[in-house]
């Protein structure tokens, strides 16, 4: 088992990083009931962990026995019926799904599943907790229409089910939904907190940590706890006992992007652009999301540039990333950014060195 899963806190009391939030959540569900919740925060900050722990707090250990179901939903959409395939994770008390997987048909999915849950309302032996919890991931990727139709559905079925929404950025969730939920902001753990967790894991595993080693991993992790734990485990596999000089291996795709960046800096020509395109395709076929490539590329370039160019380059990065969202194929826009950068950098070189 990966350490990330092995040391995932199971209950709200075990949570190490967001203790205040965990205690507040615990208080919230002690009265047998909770409002709709919206968790938002950057990746790797512990949203999912908190949600799972919260479910356990509400329903007991039964919430962890989940089964994966791949089901085709038949949706009656006015004049025609649609078949939508979607994978759900469910236990007796909750259902979890990624509505954005259904693409532009997401609005039907949300309504249909909530109605289905309303039909099969669970009844406890003691006659309490007559509601299910629906966990929706990546709500920020839901289409506008789906979000609009969600708001009435939320109110209508509020006695049957509670929604827990989870997303990275709350600016993409409409005001109407935000105002219907209790918003819980989950910030990324600080480097000290990450280091503390790593030391805790090291202790449990019986490892000797040289001083400052955990802090170095934490520093490299971009404040993402998941990533920190993963690279900690990688280090363990690579070399043990740890030495204080040990290199913390970067992700291979990040190295690759760094390579692309230095390629671009070295030569600005159509030929080089062609080579870069090949490398970009390589990254894309390995399922690295395009916006992450672009962001990383910008990060690498900013490290090497003069101040006056930085403004310009970051503007164009933002510009092409926006274009990428509107367009269809990501490669065009990343390549356009590379070409733009080359032209700017070339004229900068010409202006400076003649």
């Amino acid at each position: 088992m990966l350490w990330v899963d092995k040391y995932r806190p199971k209950t709200l009391d075990q949570v190490m990083v967001h203790q205040v939030i965990a205690q507040n959540l615990k208080k919230l569900v002690t009265e047998q009931d909770c409002p709709h919740l919206l968790f938002y925060g950057p990746p790797g900050s512990g949203k999912k962990t908190l949600i799972m722990a919260l479910l356990r707090q509400m329903f007991g250990p039964g919430a962890e026995k989940v089964k994966v179901e791949n089901k085709t939903w038949k949706v009656d959409a006015g004049s025609r019926t649609l078949d939508i395939e979607l994978t759900t994770l469910s236990s007796t008390n909750h259902v979890e799904l990624n509505p954005s997987d259904a693409g532009f048909q997401d609005r039907y999915i949300v309504q249909e599943i909530i109605k289905e849950i309303a039909k099969n309302r669970p009844i406890d032996t003691k006659g309490k907790k007559g509601f299910k919890v629906l966990v929706l991931n990546e709500v920020d990727k839901l289409s506008r229409e789906a979000q609009h139709s969600l708001r009435r559905t939320m109110e209508k079925y509020s006695s049957y089910c509670r929604l827990i929404l989870c997303c990275n950025s709350s600016s993409k969730v409409t005001e109407a939904i935000r105002s219907r939920c209790l918003n819980v902001q989950i910030n990324a753990p600080t480097e000290e907190e990450i280091a503390k967790v790593l030391e805790f894991i090291g202790n449990k595993e019986g490892l000797q940590l040289p001083s400052g080693f955990a802090a170095r991993i934490a520093e490299k992790s971009n404040r993402s706890l998941r990533r920190a734990i993963l690279s900690f485990e990688t280090c363990r596999v690579q070399q043990y006992p740890f030495t204080s000089k040990q290199v913390i291996p970067p992700m291979d795709w990040e190295e690759y992007v760094a390579e692309i960046a230095s390629d671009i800096m070295k030569e600005q020509s159509p030929k080089r652009l062609f080579q870069v395109r090949g490398k970009l395709y390589e990254l894309l076929v390995n399922c690295i999301p395009p916006e992450i490539i672009l962001k990383r590329l910008l990060y690498e370039l900013l490290k090497k540039l003069d101040v006056e160019l930085k403004h310009e380059v970051c503007h164009w990065a933002a510009y092409y990333e926006h274009r990428m969202r509107l367009g269809q194929k990501a490669i065009f826009h990343i390549e356009a950014f590379v070409a733009k950068f080359m032209s700017i950098y070339k004229s900068f070189l010409v202006a400076t060195f003649g």
Binding site: N24, K27, L28, E31, D33, P35, Y40, G41, P42, S45, G78, G130, H148, S149, R151, R152, T153, S158, S159, Y160, S169, S170, S171, K172, R178, S179, R180, L182, N183, Q185, I186, N187, A188, N222, R223, E291, L294, K295, L298, L302, V307, E308, L309, K310, H311, E312, C314, H315, A317, A318, Y319, E321, H322, R325, L326, S343, I344, Y345, S347, A351
Partner: protein, 342 residues
């Protein structure tokens, strides 16, 4: 449907005024509507104004006061944006409902019960133009037996022919005193402890939107128990603490790109919503004394562009970084145009 658990009832619903005269701060509307109640006659109406000022409340209250609970179901049709409201619905559902004749007006159980029905179209600005056009004739044909109430935020989204058929009422944003008095009333009912500082924070973060204020109050009460401080309110509302926005602006003034980049990274890692950040930045910049008009214009222009990009789904980090870089260039009087672009 099973009864909703008591504790899960939204305070917004619980404390919704039941009578027109209880609606706060909208004197003209209330005066006209009280008159309506006495004469039991009214024109088509169009309510517009910012969210949380009592438009829906007023419409529901007048409908309830006119018809009473017994006739309400058969006389009032309520549609809002979540219901399907394309042109099909206008042609079938609304038209069918509008066409039904009603009995002559007799007072029943103390309610005026005028001889017409009411159709309330909530959030009418999200109706398509076609659907609105389809309504025009329907409104006139059945005006004997049906009154339409349109409710919307932006009157400009309602097509002119519809707007000209209605009596228009503008709902003003609530003033701070009115808001405070309503909030204090709720606090008393729910036995909450709210100090003066928290009260003023609540008024300022909700910006004249009473519904939002009540929602924040309820969220805070659920999370933090019965005594609420202004910090608790800020944390549930998703508003970014003012110090952070100020620090961001100071960094931009210093003109150091790398420091600004780090600051942007931190803001993203803390999970603050960037759209909110842009909004608060705008407020700060507009009110700032030491920024020239031209600089303000440059900053605001970029803020608007970035907001549009965010709505399109662009990446938050890149947009905020772009805003930071632009603000920096404006504040440090660097040229707007890039020098190496060709």
């Amino acid at each position: 449907m099973a009864p909703v658990l008591q504790s899960s009832q939204q305070w917004v619903e619980k404390y919704r005024p039941k009578q027109v005269k209880d609606v706060a701060h909208q004197e003209e509307v209330v005066r006209v509507l009280t008159n309506t109640l006495e004469t039991s006659n009214c024109p088509h109406m169009l309510f517009y104004g910012p969210p949380g000022t009592g438009k829906t409340t007023t419409a529901l209250a007048i409908a309830h006061q006119l018809f009473g609970p017994e006739l309400y179901k058969s006389r009032v049709l309520e549609l809002n944006a979540s219901d399907d409201r394309g042109i099909n619905v206008v042609r079938t559902k609304i038209k069918d409902f509008a066409a039904v004749a009603v009995g002559s007006g007799q007072r029943q159980g103390g309610y005026p019960c005028p001889p017409f029905k009411i159709i309330i179209l909530d959030e009418a600005d999200s109706m398509t133009e076609d659907a609105q056009n389809a309504l025009r004739r329907t409104m006139e044909t059945y005006s004997k037996v049906t009154r339409f109430f349109f409710i919307c935020n932006y009157i400009s989204r309602i097509i002119e022919p519809l707007a000209s058929r209605c009596a228009k009422f503008r709902f003003k944003p609530l003033s701070e005193e009115i808001m405070s008095s309503r909030i204090l009333h709720i606090c008393k009912e729910e036995r909450l402890n709210l100090d003066a500082e928290a009260l003023s924070t609540l008024s300022s973060i909700s910006q004249g939107d009473l519904r939002r204020a009540i929602t924040y109050l309820q969220s805070a009460a659920r999370l933090f128990g019965s005594s609420i401080s202004s910090k608790d309110l800020i944390s549930v509302s998703g508003v970014i603490p003012q110090e952070i926005v100020k620090a961001f602006l100071v960094t931009c003034k210093s003109g150091n790109f790398d420091v600004a980049n780090k600051e942007v990274n931190d803001i993203i890692a803390e999970g603050y919503p960037v759209s909110q950040m842009l909004y608060q930045l705008l407020e700060l910049v507009v009110e700032a004394d030491d920024v020239s008009d031209e600089q303000k214009a440059r900053i605001c222009k970029k803020l608007a562009e970035a907001d549009k990009c965010l709505v399109d789904g662009a990446d938050e980090y890149l947009q905020l970084l772009d805003v930071a870089s632009n603000t920096m260039r404006a504040l440090c009087n660097m040229p707007q145009e890039f020098s190496y672009e060709c």
